[in-house]
């Protein structure tokens, strides 16, 4: 018989090892899946994990792309992870991302065609405020009426998508767009464009913000009393209350912060790589960031690495589709496996496996 025995404390060893184990298991099982699809498994795995970094034809282009793809994931995931540590489940980062993009792009487009250095900073602030405001809705409802923030924040994603459809075919529609939905392209509007700071490095302001957020979160969680309160509220709510932590404040802080970071991510994306507010502007970053947050163990440095890994599977997955003809759905399945194996191997972190006749727990 095999028994699971709960560890008195989560194992530090397994905390560090499970993400790596999950990646390896994903490679093995994913390899079997690719083989079952009639594609060379080793080549597929190599295309996904190796080629974006080192392939002589693609790497020069795809390495910077890793940063562009990982930037918003990391920025959003950092915000989410702080809330998750406090036991506040913001599932609606996608909606906050959309609203940040709309608010920020709206400010930029309002100035069009004026050129001024002040426009872009204003857009960033508007983007953060847009996401913050969207995050405050579940926060206020939770503190005032005790609603469930998981449901409210998730439902607000669909509201945000409707707002997005409405503004891209109405308020923010490009007047020179021949009646088609979609805003002006911000990439072609110098004062509002979020361009690469150093050409061909992928480093735009959103990536910089993501790195700053990583450092900020690290300091908050390890050096600041607010960070201690957040973790206390998550691990021992009653103890936190005795220690004078006010839950309402933590809720407002966590949802507001994660909303603001998601909103900024949306703004950097719409002003940079994406360029336009369109009906399908959002491409799931807000949901993928949840995976990134957990893959990174809710730790800032872990999230940084997880964001880059996730970006690698996206870009490598695209290459695998293109070069090997793998179906798009198999790549999504592959990414899903990553989270599945992470959660599955997580059992080793909290439990010890004991073989033979164990005593009753």
């Amino acid at each position: 018989m095999i028994h699971l025995v709960k560890r008195p404390q989560p194992s530090r060893f397994w905390t560090a090892v499970t993400p790596i184990l999950a990646v390896l298991l994903t490679m093995v099982v994913g390899g079997f899946m690719f083989a079952a699809l009639g594609k060379p498994p080793l080549e597929a795995i190599r295309t996904i994990f190796w080629d974006p970094l080192f392939h002589e034809q693609f790497a020069a282009y795809s390495r910077p792309q890793l940063l562009i793809k990982a930037g918003p994931l990391i920025l959003i995931a950092i915000g989410l992870s702080i809330g998750f540590r406090a036991g506040i489940w913001n599932i609606g980062a996608e909606g906050q991302y959309i609203m940040g993009a709309i608010a920020g792009a709206g400010v930029g487009l309002a100035f069009y065609p004026m050129e001024s250095f002040i426009i872009f900073p204003l857009m960033v602030i508007a983007g953060a405020l847009g996401g913050w405001a969207w995050g405050m809705i579940p926060a206020v409802l939770k503190t005032k009426f005790g609603t469930n923030e998981i449901l409210v924040s998730l439902m607000l994603v669909y509201v945000a998508e409707s707002v997005l459809a409405s503004v891209s075919s109405g308020l923010l529609k490009n007047p020179d767009g021949m009646g088609f939905p979609g805003s002006r392209n911000l990439q072609q509007y110098d004062s509002a464009a979020n361009l690469e700071i150093i050409p061909n490095t992928g480093m735009h302001w959103g990536v910089v913000a993501a790195f700053v957020a990583v450092i900020f979160a690290y300091v908050l969680l390890t050096r600041h009393i607010r960070g201690f309160h957040i973790q206390l509220a998550g691990q021992a709510p009653r103890a936190a209350r005795f220690a004078g932590v006010r839950p309402a404040r933590i809720i407002l802080f966590c949802l507001g912060l994660s909303g603001a970071l998601a909103g900024m991510a949306g703004l950097f994306e719409v002003a940079g790589p994406s360029g336009q507010i369109t009906i399908d502007f959002n491409s799931g970053y807000g949901f993928t960031a949840i995976i990134v947050a957990f893959l990174g163990r809710l730790h800032p440095v872990g999230i940084l690495l997880a964001g880059l890994l996730m970006a690698l599977t996206y870009i490598g997955g695209e290459l695998a589709q293109l070069m090997l003809g793998l179906p798009g759905a198999s790549i999504q399945l592959f990414q899903g496996m990553l989270l599945f194996f992470l959660l599955a191997t997580d059992v080793f972190t909290n439990y010890r496996i004991r073989f033979g006749q164990g005593e009753a727990a």
Binding site: E56, Q57, M178, Q187, D280, E318, L319
Partner: protein
């Protein structure tokens, strides 16, 4: 030997930073907005891609990527395609317009073909679309003849010229054969969302509409119409949707005909032109004469005389003898648009922002 030349040319391509991998095969690449199994828009484009392979065999190589989101991801996918050695890249959704043009600027030796857009900012960007309003004319005629309640419906996607053109063409030809006909337009604000499309169809059926055409791509409206047990009818959109042509008991199904997007002739022609050196930048807008808009088989729910009339219209459009927008046609506000015998210019159609006389609905802003 073969392996070695391949490696050598790969190294050559890498040093040049361009994409010419092998000179003897032409690589045609396709970017799709949906999965190739969507049974509609993307499925039809992929059929066109397969037709290219079929036509030229070993002389071409095709590659594609499905479910590519519009925006930043599209730009990366296009760049990777260009780096991987594609000689011609077809981007098959309107939302790829800006990405197509910005990647085309970086790869002047690769040809880019953007579907349904209007921006050709560089000499290596062509655009192509099909005259779907020709198909709408035929189904409009059928709808006007078949409606019992004199109410026909149109599930519209977005208020853009393409869709408004379709609505006008559909209504104009229904009205021609049935002066009492009334048009109901429902805006779904989506190209593909089975749940929303089904809701739109149900709402129309509840209002007494009994013939519905859709400008959205799923089969959900037909599934909804099927529940009316032969009291309402619809059309296949983008692809044939032939599964709804006949019911299980052999009686005619709810799909009486269909408008099929047939991209194969265009794709085969363009890749061929690239191979034999006659390729030029174009803004292509072809229709029934070129075989790009096809009416799928009409089922027996349509009376024989109506079938014959519809076929006559198809023949006339195909022969270039009939233009679906031939005057006299007035705008919805009563002002004249086309005089007797005058046909609409392409410019008028591509910027169409008004309904024709008789449509009482408003175009949403």
């Amino acid at each position: 030997m073969k392996r070695r030349t391949l490696l050598a040319s790969a190294a050559f391509a890498a040093t040049l930073g361009t994409a010419a991998l092998a000179q003897d095969t032409t690589k045609a690449c396709f970017v799709y907005v949906g999965p190739i199994g969507d049974g509609g828009w993307t499925y039809q484009h992929h059929q066109g891609a397969l037709a290219v392979k079929e036509a030229y065999g070993d002389k071409v190589e095709i590659a594609w990527q499905e479910s590519v989101p519009e925006g930043a991801d599209a730009e990366r996918v296009l760049t990777q395609m260009a780096l991987s050695g594609c000689d011609i890249i077809f981007t098959t959704s309107f939302g790829y317009m800006d990405a197509t043009n910005s990647v085309a600027a970086k790869f002047p030796n690769i040809k880019f073909e953007h579907s349904t857009g209007y921006k050709r900012e560089h000499p290596n960007v062509s655009t192509y679309n099909a005259r779907f309003y020709e198909g709408r004319a035929v189904v409009g005629h059928i709808a006007g003849k078949m409606t019992q309640t004199n109410k026909i419906g149109y599930i519209a996607s977005f208020p853009i010229p393409e869709v408004i053109m379709g609505i006008n063409s559909y209504y104009h030809h229904a009205k021609k054969v049935n002066p009492d006909v009334e048009l109901v337009v429902t805006w779904a604000y989506t190209w593909f969302d089975p749940a929303k499309e089904a809701d739109a169809a149900r709402a129309m059926l509840d209002q007494g509409v009994d013939v519905i055409t859709a400008h959205t791509d799923s089969t959900a409206p037909l599934a909804e119409i099927a529940k009316q047990d032969g009291k309402a009818w619809g059309f296949g959109q983008a692809s044939d949707m032939a599964t709804f042509m006949t019911n299980d008991d052999g009686t005619p199904g709810p799909r009486v005909a269909s408008i099929i997007d047939e991209w194969s002739p265009y794709y085969v022609k363009r890749v061929g032109a690239l191979m034999d050196g006659t390729y030029e930048q174009v803004d292509s807008w072809a229709g029934m004469p070129e075989g790009e808009v096809v009416i799928g088989e009409m089922n027996d729910a349509i009376p024989a005389d109506v079938k014959a009339e519809a076929q006559a219209m198809i023949d006339a459009i195909t022969a270039g003898e009939y233009h679906p927008f031939t005057g006299p046609i007035n705008k919805a506000d009563g002002s004249p648009w086309l005089a007797e015998g005058e046909t609409a210019s392409d410019g008028d159609l591509l910027g169409m922002g008004f309904y024709i006389e008789g449509i009482t609905a408003e175009i949403p802003n």
